[in-house]
């Protein structure tokens, strides 16, 4: 007898059902892993199950509401002052950046290199739920509707956060750089050494394997995205090297790094469209 949520139907024995559903699961996993056929089904199910996620987010929303309730005028004024100071500081930096950018473009033109195009960005709010235990994924309130695509890079104010791995109409799943299945090609900002940064599953640890004992890498080095692989644009901070161990019995260095992005704080991330700024932010180029 088949029972789905307690609704009895006549049918085959538990063993037959286990074999059939087991085979179905295996087929689903294969198609989901290898191709895009199931993406639309998953997107549909994500939309149907969204209310469950909203309900799960209620306790956190209440908590934030409570904190807002006890935020005083004085706190707000202090915060405002702090933000204004920060704003002024950033504006000053931006002035210098404009000059540098112009210089960079001229130099690149002289070298005959392709000029670097700025990226279009869109803020995305996080949905406060947890995902699979011991994986590192987040859910954001932007989806196919906002032209989000699979493989899209996601950043925050401090560095690269991860990439989009599933897209529904209003929602997307982002796999963080700390997820055990994630890898990102980087460049040591000091020495120009190329490496690949792997997630460890731990929230503030990244691994950099396959570096020989003579590799030019030091603790405190900033690793930026190298742009190889074509997923992430070049030049965004990814991680800071925290620990290097050289065990003579191992053929490679054991290098650990800490993500540059603040993966556990904040309620927003930025989705970026590499090299699209010219047509969206400033209008069509002449």
């Amino acid at each position: 007898m088949i029972t789905v949520f307690g609704k009895p139907l006549r049918g085959p024995s538990p063993l037959t059902r286990l074999v059939l559903l087991g085979l179905l699961s295996a087929a689903l996993m294969m198609f989901d892993h290898r191709g895009q056929e199931l993406d639309r089904i998953r997107a549909g199910l994500m939309v149907i199950l969204y209310p469950v996620q909203v309900v799960a987010g209620v306790p956190v929303a209440l908590y934030h509401g409570l904190i807002d309730l006890f935020t005083t005028d004085k706190d707000l004024k202090e915060q405002n002052e702090r933000l204004e100071a920060e704003h002024t500081r950033l504006l000053v930096q931006l002035q210098q950046l404009d000059a540098l950018e112009a210089e960079n473009t001229r130099l690149r033109a002289m070298l005959g290199a392709a000029s670097r195009v700025a990226d279009r960005a869109l803020a995305a709010e996080l949905v406060e739920v947890s995902t699979e235990p011991f994986s590192r994924r987040i859910l954001v309130r932007r989806g196919a509707q906002d032209k989000v695509y699979i493989g899209q890079p996601v950043i925050d104010a401090h560095g690269i956060v991860g990439q989009v791995t599933q897209v529904a109409s209003h929602l997307s799943t982002v796999t963080l750089i700390t997820d055990p299945s994630h890898a990102i090609p980087v460049l040591d900002n000091r020495s120009g050494l190329r490496a690949v940064v792997f997630g460890s599953g731990d929230q503030d640890n990244l691994n950099i394997p396959y570096l020989s004992a003579v590799a030019d890498i030091k603790e405190g080095d900033l690793l930026v995205s190298s742009g190889m692989g074509g997923v992430f644009p070049a030049g965004y901070p990814v991680a800071v090297v925290t620990k290097i161990e050289n065990d003579p019995s191992e053929s490679f260095l054991q290098v650990r790094a800490r993500p540059a992005a603040q993966l556990n704080h904040g309620k927003q991330v930025l989705l970026i469209w590499p090299g699209q700024a010219a047509t969206t932010a400033k209008g069509k180029a002449p």
Binding site: F5, G22, M29, D32, R42, L45, R137
Partner: protein
């Protein structure tokens, strides 16, 4: 409402609560201490009413979790249908066991559930290699007696059979 329909409503409600508890947001350090509520609820109902809740329910719950978790579609579905099958097969013995022995059996079932998931994750990429990965099963064993009492009272109160 017919007893049949009322039973279905109770089952649905208990599974819905378990699913929400599985995806409640929390700090990362708390992750090893959160048991798989869906697996625990599934094991209870497979043991108590195996003619109503079994492999099909386990599979459906697994697919729901796969979508909510963003994991490979079918991964948790397979694990949950396997533990539902074992529980249904062994339900006469499980019901007779003293509470502590039942809790140990639940630990084995939860570990099988996690083992299948970690195998699949290992096959497609890098599986979490830490020992902390297994603590949710142990926490599940510890909370089992309470889950059992609560769900048994629910079953008696609304006469789910």
């Amino acid at each position: 409402m017919s007893p049949q329909a009322r039973g279905r409503l109770i089952l649905l409600a208990s599974f819905a609560i378990a699913i929400v508890m599985n995806i409640l947001p929390g700090p990362a350090w708390a992750e090893p201490f959160v048991p798989d509520w869906v697996a625990l609820t599934l094991i209870y109902w497979c043991m108590a009413v195996p003619h109503r809740v079994s492999v099909g329910t386990g599979w459906t719950l697994g697919i729901i979790l796969d979508v909510l978790y963003g994991s490979l579609l079918g991964q948790h579905a397979l694990a949950k249908s396997v533990i539902a099958f074992i529980t249904v097969r062994l339900h006469p013995q499980l019901r007779m066991f003293p509470r502590w022995q039942q809790a140990v059996s639940v630990l084995v079932l939860l570990a099988i559930n996690q083992l299948l998931v970690v195998w699949i994750r290992g096959a497609i990429g890098h599986a979490p290699g830490t020992i902390a990965y297994w603590t949710p099963s142990i926490v599940g064993m510890v909370v089992w007696p309470w889950i059992f009492v609560v769900l048994r009272d629910v079953r008696r109160r609304w006469q789910v059979s």
